[in-house]
Symmetry: C2
Subunit: 388 residues, 2 copies
Amino acid sequence: MKKNILYAQSGGVTPVINATACGVIETARANYDRIGKVYAGKDGILGILRENLIDTSKERKVNIAALRHTPGGAFGSCRYKLRSIDESKREYERLIEVFKAHDIGYFFYNGGGDSADTAYKVSQISNRMGFPVQCIGVPKTIDNDLPVTDNSPGFGSVAKYVAVSIMEASRDVESMASSSTRVFILEVMGRHAGWIAAAGGLAAREEGDPPHIILFPEVIFRQREFLKKVKHAVENYGYCSVVVSEGVRNSRGQFLAETGTRDAFGHAQLGGVAPVVAEIVRSKFGYKYHWAVADYLQRSARHVASKTDVDQGIRGWCCGCKIRSRRQKRCHAGDQAGFQQPLPMEDWRSFAGPRGEPGEKNAKKLYLGRWLWNYSRCKALPGAPDPG
Amino acid sequence: MKKNILYAQSGGVTPVINATACGVIETARANYDRIGKVYAGKDGILGILRENLIDTSKERKVNIAALRHTPGGAFGSCRYKLRSIDESKREYERLIEVFKAHDIGYFFYNGGGDSADTAYKVSQISNRMGFPVQCIGVPKTIDNDLPVTDNSPGFGSVAKYVAVSIMEASRDVESMASSSTRVFILEVMGRHAGWIAAAGGLAAREEGDPPHIILFPEVIFRQREFLKKVKHAVENYGYCSVVVSEGVRNSRGQFLAETGTRDAFGHAQLGGVAPVVAEIVRSKFGYKYHWAVADYLQRSARHVASKTDVDQGIRGWCCGCKIRSRRQKRCHAGDQAGFQQPLPMEDWRSFAGPRGEPGEKNAKKLYLGRWLWNYSRCKALPGAPDPG
């Protein structure tokens, strides 16, 4: 008998996370002889725990295709980490209950390293509970810091955004530097990994091209050295363009963003690092400066997404068809449709759990019924039921 | 005899200011029987005062066409305001000297209201000095606050950038609001005019769509009222998306950006208004927030420029051919070429003043020779020589 898929997004969104959702759903539809419905957890794993699921089989083909072009996370995501099986036992069990209630055979968890780990743990406990589910961690992160992968869907588009933005803004600064702003600082994401900041370097082709300085979270910020480089750029190229990661730290290990500004009451304010760096430059040289903090703009900028990234978001993971190329045509029949319309919001939000009642009520019913399930822990390895 | 054109950019650049440069140069080339060379002032009017001119007739057609697609100001711009004719008499005279040395019959000054005023004054003094020059103020500003115009080249693209950015970022926030960020604040330009902030409203289609709040420089910031609206949005839509103009002021007339943050020494820090607004929200409700400051990214974002804006940048002003449509084909022969390559920087920077010597040296020679010129002030009206 055909089993259903449960798909959920996790953590911060990327410009292409909806492209991945599109890939999962379209591939499942193309394989209708072996796969049932695709449910999506509303707001990620919280939606599964609350049994707040979206039945994507009720969505029109054109709307599923439009996910490729839609920023944000269409089904909602969340920051919610399941801990070890012992610590979060009831939650894991709750997941399996919901899986069982909706006849789920495959769980696609679309997130970063923690989500992959959760998917692994879910597969373990599903086996122990006698309801084996095939769990697939689908990579997604803008930071590009996932183990084992060489890059991750989401990163390529943010890299493009940062490179394009610093190139454009640097030309702006260059135009005016003789009588106006001489230093421009762009703050980008990547609190612990410098890949996004490094992507700013794609804007440069040769010595002297902007950005002249990139500040990484992995490299301790040395003020004197930094100022020397700023001066060199201004004196040699007329201006200085800087990309700084939000996660840059000083030699005491403090985030630079937390060292500089105080609110009106003198409390340290968690602000951007760009204004702090700008102030360091101003107080030393008095150069006129400007700064920008891209924040969510960079990770939601679907309008300038990388084509390679979108393609990887859709194709890179699903069914192994990247490798099994003969099956590709079948799996991705809908890929080339190229619908330009964004998905109407009301269609995203329709709840249609097979139990007939939506959301919280349903969840409570199942929650109370937890005792029905088998808590057996006899099976230790991830389950992998035959998809046939 | 054919006269030459002198073109100069002034003030902050826009995503389409180079498109205007392209329009001037291509139109002049198409009218080669009546117009000579087009010179461009390097770094705006400063380049004219210093006789640092770029001879665009040496530039390849493909490079001139590429100006349509290039952010920043290709020939450089500046912040430099000529005062009244009495106060800045020597500078005005200096301009006329340079005009005369390069046989300039037409001066295109591409900037805002001040630049249009300067162009008017230059035309007055050129008449008085017996060397009448037709002076054309070519509109350009992202703020959309030029008198007499209903909109201005530059604004449309920034409006598009802001609308696209707040739409994308709001979808991001919405995806995560149930367990993460609930308030997002995007700071945009327009210190004294709220057109850019208002453009954020283009992202909304119906009640409840983001942005939920727009803060204008023309409207005094009332904290209590603002917080009430934030709460309403979070409670009704799950999150609150805000666009704030950098120029928002409180009831005492202070810029909000200057009221909130202090540096490590307790000095008021000229920072963004977005973190100040974010702090107001956090201290009242404790909502998790994010903020972005688009700064130069918005005014250099050629990659997402408005087509209408680009077209206006090229066509809106030149030769009146917008009105005289039969001449349009001739004027804009090069318009449809659509070259995608950016202009190599070395070509932009070539100096080729007809006096043989570049830059400062040349400028000094002419500067010393100022006494050669006629200081007559007998003609009060702008000159308009026949372009035949």
